[in-house]
Symmetry: C2
């Protein structure tokens, strides 16, 4: 910038005015400055600009997710990005892989860069590490995964209700022996879905001997499904509580050739779920909306200086496509 000022024969402030499109610069001077800018290939440094600005803002949001390679989180990121773009902000994204230490490290890096807000799909058992930040005034919104502690805003799908609906759907189709396959319970969403399943089963007076959790990828889910179905005392229907669990279970059913015999309803939609035979009944979420709402909530809090809002819950329902309507043999 100094070089530009020198080249144009004006002061720093005049260059600053031109760059920021402030009123009150002669056309003549402005032209000179612009010429110098083009000539030198000058690019203003936003870090320095935002550092000095009165309204302290880095024009960026931080998003901590479990894994961006999971299409579900990628879609949340997309929604968040759209909300951020509308406000002229950029998004820093990082994957925790479900590791609390990594989540914490990411949050710390984001805070060190002074993001205007934090969106977190948390898997941390203890959010104490966040309270300092919350007091510092940085808005925090949890998406989908809720912490144990009572901090920050929350935007999430109705995991419990959705899992209950899936379970009810199978019960309504005469199933009594229903298994639950899900992710690790340190993920709040996974725990909630399990809860919804158990509640619905109990309400119907059914036993729940088949509750499998800690299935971390499609391969584990596939193996677990195969084992589950090879035991003499086996279920007639499955609730698969995660997109990759659904994928693994579907693979297993097809490998065993029992996809027309064992019913299943999955949480999350999966690509091509409608084309498979039988097509997979699911409880789809709207992750893009989740991300967009989280971003909007951040900006609301930035504007209104509201400390905390009630949770925002997105309702879900079963989409019947075939696999969930199979009756027990």
């Amino acid at each position: 910038m100094r070089d530009v000022a020198e080249a144009a024969g004006v002061s720093l402030k005049t260059v600053s005015r031109v760059v920021n499109r402030e009123r009150g610069v002669t056309e003549e001077l402005e032209a000179k400055v612009r010429a110098a800018i083009a000539d030198l290939g000058y690019q203003p440094d936003d870090r320095a600009r935002f550092l000095r600005r009165t309204a302290p803002s880095s024009k960026s949001l931080g998003f901590v997710q479990v894994d961006v390679a999971n299409p579900f989180f990628a879609a949340i990121l997309r929604g968040l990005e759209d909300a951020a773009r509308a406000r002229g902000s950029l998004v820093l994204a990082g994957s925790s892989d479900g590791d609390p230490d990594r989540e914490e490290a990411l949050v710390r890096s984001f805070i060190a860069r002074r993001v205007d807000g934090l969106v977190i799909s948390s898997c941390h058992p203890d959010l104490a590490y966040l309270t300092a930040e919350l007091q510092h005034g940085t808005p925090v919104v949890f998406v989908d995964l809720q912490p144990a502690a009572d901090v920050g805003d929350l935007i999430h799908t109705d995991h419990r209700g959705g899992a209950a609906a899936a379970t009810r759907h199978l019960i309504d189709h005469d199933h009594r022996r229903i298994a639950f396959l899900g992710d690790a319970l340190r993920f709040w969403s996974a725990a909630q879905r399990r809860l919804g399943f158990l509640e619905e089963m109990t309400a119907a007076g059914l036993e729940t001997p088949w509750v499998l959790t800690d299935l971390g990828d499609p391969d584990q889910a596939e193996a677990a499904t195969v084992e589950l179905l090879s035991s003499p005392d086996r279920p007639t229907a499955l609730v698969t509580a995660q997109n990759f669990v659904t994928i693994g279970a579907v693979r297993a059913l097809h490998r065993l050739g029992r996809q027309h015999e064992i019913a299943m309803v999955g949480f999350d939609d999966v690509e091509l779920a409608d084309v498979i035979q039988p097509a997979i009944s699911v409880v789809p979420q709207d992750p893009i909306a989740l991300g967009r709402l989280a971003g909007e909530r951040i900006f609301e809090r930035l504007a209104d200086d509201v400390t905390r809002n009630p949770p925002r819950l997105l309702p879900v329902a079963v989409v019947a496509r075939g696999s969930g309507e199979i009756r027990p043999g």
Copy 2:
């Protein structure tokens, strides 16, 4: 930081030393400083730190992709993030939606934040807007989508070879009437795939009356496939050149009930492609590797100050699963 220095009764520099773990601070002073830091909840401001540092680095990379909600790009982002994390960097990500103006705006924002390097899946017809940056020394790596201009490094899948292999695979299975369905040709990868298809067809002495491009989403691909197959003069096999095109085409085939009659090979792998009947033969890419290599290339250039490297091309091959091995009726 000033507050911390005051509270601990030391100078700014001593606090700085403690924060940066520099050697040469008495244990006693260090303890005092740490106490003050904890007490005040002080968090160093990386923006200011990186601003003043001798080695100019923002410890961040910028990634401009077409759409992070597309699992292919999300996976690239994941690979890039892993490479960045290994070097202590964070990733700023933005989606262009295939709009050159948006791509350019994103690149400018990233540059204004002084990212250490830029990874771009470009759809811009004219990369002149980048040359200024390249001269400025910012490493730029293009992933998957190569610009027309001769700037920056390139890491990409062998689109042309992969499309040719898919085509050859169908020809080897006695098909003579093969259609090509792809994305807009402003995407270099789409254009390359079309080229590979045309070359292989021409080499085999076959006509190519069915070349459909500009299919932007699964719905368009589905509609195009239905129309293609309802004409009296129709192909017996399809090359679908994009993940979402494959999805649309599969939907169409199943809707028409002709999935066992029309052969197809898709570019990109698709979730559950192995479970559908018939399972879909594909030319899978490794997008995580693409992203990782792009990130590593950035850091190499940062370290070695190399201006430019030869393109890095990832080979691909057909994975036969069923749909590509159907013979013409």
